[in-house]
């Protein structure tokens, strides 16, 4: 290819104004091996791009969760489930325990109140009975007055 044309393309190239097609022309020119001596200095640059283009990696990325750290991932899941269970059990146990305590305390209080009431009622009835015994005297008194005022 005409080296004048190539020089023009190179100027545009270094200004960043060439199109992809024009850059391909430059690539082809420097690959051809028939490079004008004064342009040889650019040969390495384009040779580098050509080499870099064909660079490949031999590694194969792995993406599957099952392939990638399967133990770790499933373990995490199960640990989460286990933790949830522990928390749930703990909470229910705590609530149960606490409510039991509350009920026994209430029960005791109620029993105490019951005993007190019973005691009080017994006391009242005892007093009532003994007072009622005393009333027999009044009865006798009533009889005697009836006899007198017939």
């Amino acid at each position: 290819m005409d080296s004048k044309k190539i020089e023009q393309l190179l100027d545009a190239y270094f200004e960043g104004t060439t199109s992809i097609a024009e850059e391909k022309l430059l690539q082809e020119y420097f690959k051809s091996g028939e490079v004008a001596p004064h342009l040889e200095v650019y040969q390495d640059m384009f040779a580098f791009f050509a080499t870099a283009k064909s660079e490949k990696t031999s590694m194969t990325p792995e993406i599957s969760e099952t392939n990638n750290q399967p133990f770790y991932k499933s373990l995490r899941k199960w640990v989460a489930v286990a933790a949830l269970l522990v928390v749930a059990l703990g909470v229910t146990f705590f609530i149960n325990n606490n409510s039991n305590k509350i009920s026994t305390a209430e029960q005791r209080e109620a029993e105490l109140a019951f005993e007190k009431t019973k005691e009080a009622l017994n006391f009242i009835s005892y007093q009532f009975n003994s007072s009622a015994q005393n009333l027999t005297v009044v009865k006798e008194f009533g009889k005697s007055t009836n006899k007198i005022f017939k």
Partner: protein, 171 residues
């Protein structure tokens, strides 16, 4: 999305992503790690990839961001910089072979470029992306890309001319 479908979309991009990662991170091992990471990320967000009409641009952007993050964290930690120095003394034989010819020389020159310019040069001159596509990957406007590309190409040229003249004088 099924695994097969996902792989069908993403696997053909493997080498492109690798080349970009290698251009940014230089080290082959790190580039491969980066590709692996990006694939995992893509797989995790696999429902999102459908929304993009060009999964390639999406994957390239992700790779670029991941690699730049890697670079940042590497520069932030002293330990890895020491490690890097150690590495540069003990480069792979493959790299040593590359460094001997002119192509290796350009490879060395490209290492000196700022990351942004390196990425643009890679996308344009190696992957042959249109400016609009580069703009999409880099989330930059096309004018800025042209300016950076021109700068990158000129730097490579200047360095090559320097080395070339040195070679001529030496002979």
């Amino acid at each position: 999305m099924q695994k097969e479908e996902f792989l069908h979309i993403v696997m053909p991009l493997k080498d492109k992503l690798y080349r970009l990662a290698r251009r940014i991170l230089i080290s082959q091992d790190e580039a491969e790690d980066a590709v692996q990471e990006v694939f995992l990320k893509l797989w995790k967000g696999k429902e999102q990839i459908k929304k993009y009409n060009k999964p390639e641009a999406y994957a390239m952007t992700m790779t670029k961001n991941y690699c730049l993050d890697r670079l940042k964290s590497k520069q932030a930690s002293n330990l890895t910089i020491v490690h890097q120095n150690y590495k540069s003394n003990d480069t792979r034989t493959e790299d040593q072979v590359e460094a001997k010819d002119g192509v290796g020389l350009v490879f060395e020159i490209m290492k000196q470029l700022p990351e942004q310019q390196r990425i643009i040069l890679q996308l344009r001159d190696v992957e042959e992306y249109e400016y609009s596509e580069i703009a999409e990957v880099l989330e930059m406007n096309e004018t800025a890309i042209r300016v950076n590309l021109s700068r990158a190409r000129k730097t490579v040229r200047e360095e090559l001319i320097k080395k070339y003249n040195y070679g001529l004088k030496k002979n």
